[in-house]
């Protein structure tokens, strides 16, 4: 194993299933751990942190061995250079925000300094909150402070356990941009536990899907989301992610055109500058398929692609069609009858008609 590698292997029998995970994390960026409630996501995070003792585990982060039960190596949590953001607000009530932020900093020793704290305060916009107590903060502010407190120790790994789950929609929208900034500016890996598909779409670079303690899928997020061989429990949220660049603005109709590897899409103009890199999300239920370009349709976005695979969906009346447009994958959810009528077989050239495109970041 080369230095700098991040590897997490963990085996732990739980009440109704065994947690069995073996992952090689990327050096940086957000790895989302996605799965239904009770699929072992939080347990996995606690094992990585050393808060829970698995039967057999190997945790190596940035080349440093934190735990290897086969060699009987086990660093207790407080000796692991990690940051942990818990699901609910976990600020110390007996300290103000400044005291909370300094708590970890003072104990991290040589690896952290004041400059690091100042940078984090700046990064998360906490300057005016410093003298306040935890109970004087909103839910979103508390989580921001908790994230800053974890980062002030300059961890080698940041663990986030559904940091937005206890927040309402508005607070969530308030904190998401800060998390995106962290992802883009920090050079550490983050493990981000969530059961919200929109957070995965917006935040993740890499996706781990956990199902009853087992890794059901693992890989780059766009790839995992458009896999149809291992059905992912996204329900109505089955979607594809595209990375594109804004190229053209239609002032009259308030639209912008985003170019991606397989073509272009028009979407609502939200005022972003041309040249901006964007991530687009297209729900499978918003894609219909035509065998020739539509002439008289309200749908403006029509992309040439080929059928790559057809798979049965949760309900027998529906199928998921995986489409290849210039190497980029799209998903369409259509009725089985329509698939049959159109003669959709692998390799057939079709037009994907995209009714709606969401700009996720």
């Amino acid at each position: 194993m080369s230095p700098g590698n991040n590897r997490i292997r963990c085996a732990l029998p739980l009440a109704s299933f065994d947690l069995q995970v073996d992952l090689a994390l990327p050096q940086r960026g957000i790895t989302a751990v996605f799965g239904a409630s009770g699929s072992g996501k939080t347990t996995l995070l606690r094992c990585v942190a050393g808060l829970q003792r698995p039967h057999d585990a190997l945790v190596q982060i940035a080349g440093q061995l934190w735990q290897d039960d086969q060699q009987e190596i086990f660093l207790p949590t407080w000796q692991r250079p990690l940051g942990y953001v818990f699901q609910e607000a976990s600020l110390f009530d007996h300290l103000d925000v400044r005291g909370n932020l300094q708590y970890g900093l003072q104990r991290a020793g040589g690896t952290a300094d004041r400059a690091a704290l100042d940078a984090v305060i700046e990064l998360l916009g906490l300057e005016r909150l410093l003298p306040r107590r935890a109970h004087q903060l909103s839910g979103g502010e508390r989580q921001r402070v908790a994230i800053a407190r974890a980062l002030a120790t300059q961890p080698k790994l940041l663990l986030l356990d559904e940091p937005l789950a206890s927040l309402d929609h508005a607070r969530r929208q308030e904190i998401l941009p800060w998390l995106e900034r962290l992802r883009d500016e920090l050079h550490i890996p983050m493990l981000y536990v969530t059961h919200a598909a929109d957070e995965v779409a917006r935040m993740a670079d890499t996706l781990v899907v956990l199902k009853e303690g087992q890794v059901a899928a693992f890989g780059p997020v766009a790839e995992v989301l458009t896999r149809i061989d291992t059905p992912i429990v996204l329900g109505d949220d089955v979607s594809a992610l595209l990375d594109g660049v804004l190229e053209e603005r239609d002032e009259r109709w308030k639209l912008v055109r985003a170019r991606f590897a397989g073509g272009s899409l028009w979407l609502r103009d939200t005022g972003l500058a041309l040249g901006q890199h964007v991530r687009l999300r297209i729900l499978a239920r918003d894609v219909s398929i035509a065998t020739e370009p539509a002439q008289h349709s309200s749908i403006q976005n029509s992309i040439a692609c080929t059928v790559r695979a057809v798979a049965s969906d949760a309900h027998p009346s529906q199928v998921l069609v995986q489409l290849d447009c210039g190497g980029v994958l799209l998903l369409a959810r259509i009725t089985a009858r329509a698939a049959d009528a159109l003669g959709l077989v692998v390799g057939k050239a079709v037009w994907a008609q995209v009714k709606s495109v969401a700009l996720v970041q």
Partner: protein, 231 residues
């Protein structure tokens, strides 16, 4: 009751000694009860129930039973007494030290239980947060668990102090009623009544009622203020 009454030197001595005994007992007991309460709040050991029951025993036993066993074991013929004599430390019964020991045993549940409840209310999460911020277990205990359990310490200290002031049976069994050494307010009242000095007994008894009421009302006010802050 004549209002011109002024307390005798013996009465004042008893009041002073009572305050001294209650203060020393409170300090000793908080030091002992803190680790014990922490252990009770954290452990999953099968001894937990047994230890909790032993801690609660002074709540249900007559103080004379406690005093009797302490007297027997600490006396010249008792195992502890003989051990202490072999160390040249002297005997504890009928000394101030003996009173402190008796009070510590007698008031143990009044210190342990509020602390245990406070530690349980703090819960595991703040300790896990502290560990994730590089605090060793002892460091986390001192800088997170103790400050967060502060209300429990205030309650434990007030209850221990007040309960020690109010003890009688153990003191009488362990201390006798030696002025300046083991004569506290409760035994002094008993002595006054025995000697039919009802006026003196009234003054001391009344002072005890006022003191106890003040303690309880301040405890209630403290708890009410805490609840408001939490909400």
């Amino acid at each position: 009751m004549p209002l011109s009454f002024s307390p005798s030197a013996a009465d004042l001595g008893a009041i002073l000694l009572t305050c001294k005994l209650a203060s020393v007992t409170t300090v000793v007991l908080l030091l002992l009860a803190t680790p014990l309460a922490w252990w009770l709040a954290q452990t999953r050991s099968r001894w937990r129930a047994a230890v909790a029951a032993v801690v609660a025993l002074p709540l249900v036993l007559p103080p004379t039973v406690l005093g009797f066993y302490l007297l027997v074991s600490l006396g010249p013929q008792g195992t502890v007494g003989q051990f202490m004599q072999s160390l040249g430390l002297g005997l504890l019964p009928f000394t101030f030290g003996g009173l402190v020991l008796g009070s510590v045993v007698y008031s143990l549940p009044f210190a342990v239980q509020p602390l245990q409840h406070a530690f349980e209310a703090v819960g595991q999460r703040p300790m896990e947060v502290a560990a994730s911020l590089r605090a060793s277990p002892l460091d986390a205990f001192l800088t997170v668990a103790l400050p967060l359990a502060r209300p429990g310490f205030v309650t434990a200290a007030i209850l221990t102090f007040a309960h020690t002031v109010g003890e009688f049976g153990v003191v009488l069994m362990m201390g006798g009623n030696i002025p300046g050494q083991t004569q506290v307010v409760s035994t002094q009242i008993y002595a006054h009544v025995e000697a039919l000095e009802y006026t003196q007994a009234h003054w001391l008894a009344g002072a005890m009622v006022v003191f106890s009421f003040a303690v309880l009302i301040s405890l209630n006010l403290f708890n009410a203020r805490r609840t408001r802050v939490v909400l």
